[in-house]
């Protein structure tokens, strides 16, 4: 699991430019699933399990994890060779300061800012990127408006934890892959969607859910924790197991699915936590609204320092998530209220 996560977290994939991550996941999917294809938005889709709902209590299940990470897009190239940019997703200007970034084309840059009077005055439009060009002409040889970049930070191991950009969401993708790897018998037709553009408003998830039209869906993603000094109150901590999604700012999870996940956890002998996220949303909301309504919940990976270059996850939480998800898929699911 650790190796899979480290591998996935190497690739750079800001929202809208997820190609590198998608290619990596596509390679891993070979042999694990059938009908691997990419839709019009760029979502990577595949399926496994019996076609149609083979057994009683079997459903068409959609499992979703996103490929993208927060990043930036170049909007202007200035005469002196500096670049201006806009955020793609939740980018904190203070976290950007002094960071190295990598463009999807491979070029590197560093971010600094115009001087401000107070730290609170630091906004994105005061920041700029230096790619080492001495003039606009030189800069344009490497980078153009529209090019995208993400933080340049390779993942690293901290004991049995891993740190790096996007390790939370890549961890969720790794959980999905490893679950497919270990999946034997299941009564469900399992559809997987590795989506794009989640960090800019779950844009990939909406068409993916529409195209698949499942009976139920589980969203796998990172969630925040409340276990760092003076943290905002949240009952999720690193190392205490995956978190069953109850509510986030995009919506509330379907109660019967929460219960089914809890039962699966108990059966698998794994401890779980409960996610009530007050500071962010997820793809849960848009998936639920598809067609005549799709009952949905999620299994979330506790992640410290989300949306920055130094996210931290615990490998044991990832392994726990695989066990719970595998058990969940083994049994029929009762969707009644």
């Amino acid at each position: 699991m650790k190796d899979m996560l480290l591998k996935l977290a190497e690739a750079t994939g800001p929202s809208g430019s997820e190609d590198a991550v998608r290619e990596l996941v596509k390679k891993e999917l070979a042999g694990l699933a059938e009908d691997v294809r990419v839709d019009a938005m760029g979502n990577l889709l595949a399926r496994t399990g019996p076609r149609g709902r083979a057994s009683k209590g079997g459903h068409k299940v959609l499992l979703m994890a996103h490929l993208d990470e927060v990043g930036l897009v170049v909007t202007n190239v200035e005469k002196n060779g500096f670049l201006r940019f806009s955020p793609m997703g939740r980018l904190d200007p203070h976290v950007c300061l002094g960071q190295r970034i990598r463009f999807t084309g491979g070029a590197l840059g560093v971010i600094d800012a115009e001087p401000v009077e107070k730290p609170g005055d630091l906004k994105i439009d005061k920041l700029f990127i230096d790619i080492g060009a001495a003039s606009e002409e030189e800069a344009r040889k490497t980078v153009r408006p529209g090019d995208m970049a993400a933080f340049d930070r390779a993942p690293a191991v901290l004991g049995h934890r891993v740190t790096g950009r996007a390790v939370g969401s890549r961890g969720a993708a790794a959980v999905l892959l490893q679950t497919l790897r270990g999946l034997r018998a299941t009564p469900h037709e399992v559809l997987v969607a590795f989506t794009v553009q989640k960090e800019v408003g779950s844009r990939g998830a909406r068409p993916a859910a529409f195209g698949v039209d499942p009976d139920l869906a589980l969203v796998l993603d990172a969630t925040a924790t409340g276990d760092t000094p003076e943290a905002r109150r949240m009952e999720v901590s690193l190392g205490k197991g995956p978190a069953i999604k109850v509510q986030d700012q995009s919506g509330m999870a379907y109660p019967a699915l929460r219960r089914a996940l809890a039962a699966a956890a108990a059966k698998a002998g794994k401890s779980v936590q409960y996610e009530v996220l007050e500071t962010a949303g997820s793809e849960l909301g848009v998936v639920q609204l598809s067609h005549g309504g799709i009952p949905a919940s999620g299994l979330s990976i506790p992640t410290r320092y989300r949306f920055g270059p130094t996210e931290v996850v615990d490998v044991e939480d990832l392994e726990g998530a695989v066990a719970v998800l595998t058990q969940f898929l083994k049994d029929p699911v009762d969707l009644s209220f």
Partner: protein, 330 residues
């Protein structure tokens, strides 16, 4: 709640179904054969605002977050019910006045400072309650003078009751259309219930029945409505002008006064989501004015509830195939 409403609707409907996300759909079929019957969706949301447990704190006190637009100032000192393994009565606590320094008393309580006291020891609370459990306000409805009723969740249970009134009126009416009386879920968060049910049922018309702001002290005259002057009909981009006219005609036929609200954008109701489902649905909004919205003493006039129910029934009886054809623009 869903189950209870389904039972209440059942005797007045030909069939009661549930939507995928829990909505209750009461179906009442009119005279025309299925292929030609205009389908009218009437949506009243059954969910209420409330709270959700985020932590079992030291001493067994519960910390909470909001579900829907809860004003923390109205929750302080409120009696609540925690939906744990069993229903547990509790009180939303705060520091007693004697121990509150004057500067603090000047500030409104924030949600993060509030807690729920169940009067149980911590280990017992941990056994019965978990993160994610829902909390609702505990308030019996209060009969006030002049036919007024106060209670929590008048927004929007009063409108579910209004649908019930409409179904009752239809027992004695002639009509051609098919009425889908839906008690929707999740309006207070995302209108997920209304949007998905509309997709599933594909109606020709959808009317959201909701509450609006009645005149009360501290509100501007042009932001609020006089409950004595009848239900409120909305017009604006979220509203089909043809459906609006038909509702206004129905009111004239009943000699009923209605008030007109001009909404330049989002109406704050299920109609906003329903209008743009699939290939589009002509929508309208009918509102009952209530005082003290989103508090536990939302107050309305019962007469308005039955007026609005009768208005809907009259509208239904005017809807025929010609009307549906006329909903497509030239």
């Amino acid at each position: 709640m869903g189950g209870w409403i389904a039972e209440a609707f059942a005797p007045l409907c030909d069939e009661v179904q549930r939507g995928k996300l829990g909505d209750v759909i009461g179906i009442r079929r009119g005279a025309l054969p299925a292929a030609r019957r205009p389908r009218i969706l009437l949506a009243a949301h059954m969910d209420e605002i409330g709270l959700m447990v985020t932590r079992v704190d030291e001493g067994g006190f519960l910390r909470v977050t909001r579900v829907g637009g809860v004003d923390p100032r109205t929750i302080l000192a409120q009696e609540v019910l925690v939906h744990g393994r069993t229903m547990l009565p509790g009180i939303v606590g705060a520091k007693p006045p004697h121990l509150t320094p004057p500067e603090e008393a000047k500030n409104a309580p924030q949600l993060k400072d509030l807690y729920i006291d169940l009067a149980l020891p911590e280990d017992e609370v941990r056994r019965l309650v978990q993160v994610g459990d829902l909390v609702t306000v505990r308030r019996e409805p209060v009969d006030l003078l002049e036919g007024h009723l106060a209670g929590k969740a008048m927004d929007n249970r009063a409108c579910v009751a209004l649908l019930y009134e409409c179904l009752q009126e239809l027992e004695r009416a002639q009509f051609q259309a098919e009425v889908l009386a839906v008690a929707t879920t999740a309006e207070e968060i995302t209108s997920a219930g209304a949007e998905t049910v509309t997709y599933q049922l594909a109606p020709d018309v959808a009317i959201a029945v909701d509450v609006t702001f009645a005149q009360q002290p501290g509100t501007e005259e042009d932001e609020t409505w006089d409950p004595a002057r009848g239900p409120v009909l909305t017009m604006g981009p979220n509203i089909s002008p043809r459906v609006f006219e038909a509702l206004r005609e129905a009111a004239r036929e009943l000699d009923m006064n209605v008030q007109i609200e001009a909404a330049p954008g989002h109406t704050g109701t299920d109609a906003w989501s329903m209008q743009v489902v699939a290939a589009g649905v002509p929508t309208a909004v009918l509102s009952v004015p209530i005082k003290y919205m989103h508090t536990s003493v939302e107050t309305l006039s019962l007469e308005n509830v039955s007026r609005a129910g009768r208005l809907l029934a009259r509208f239904v009886s005017r809807v025929d195939e010609e009307f549906v054809k006329g909903l497509v623009w030239a």
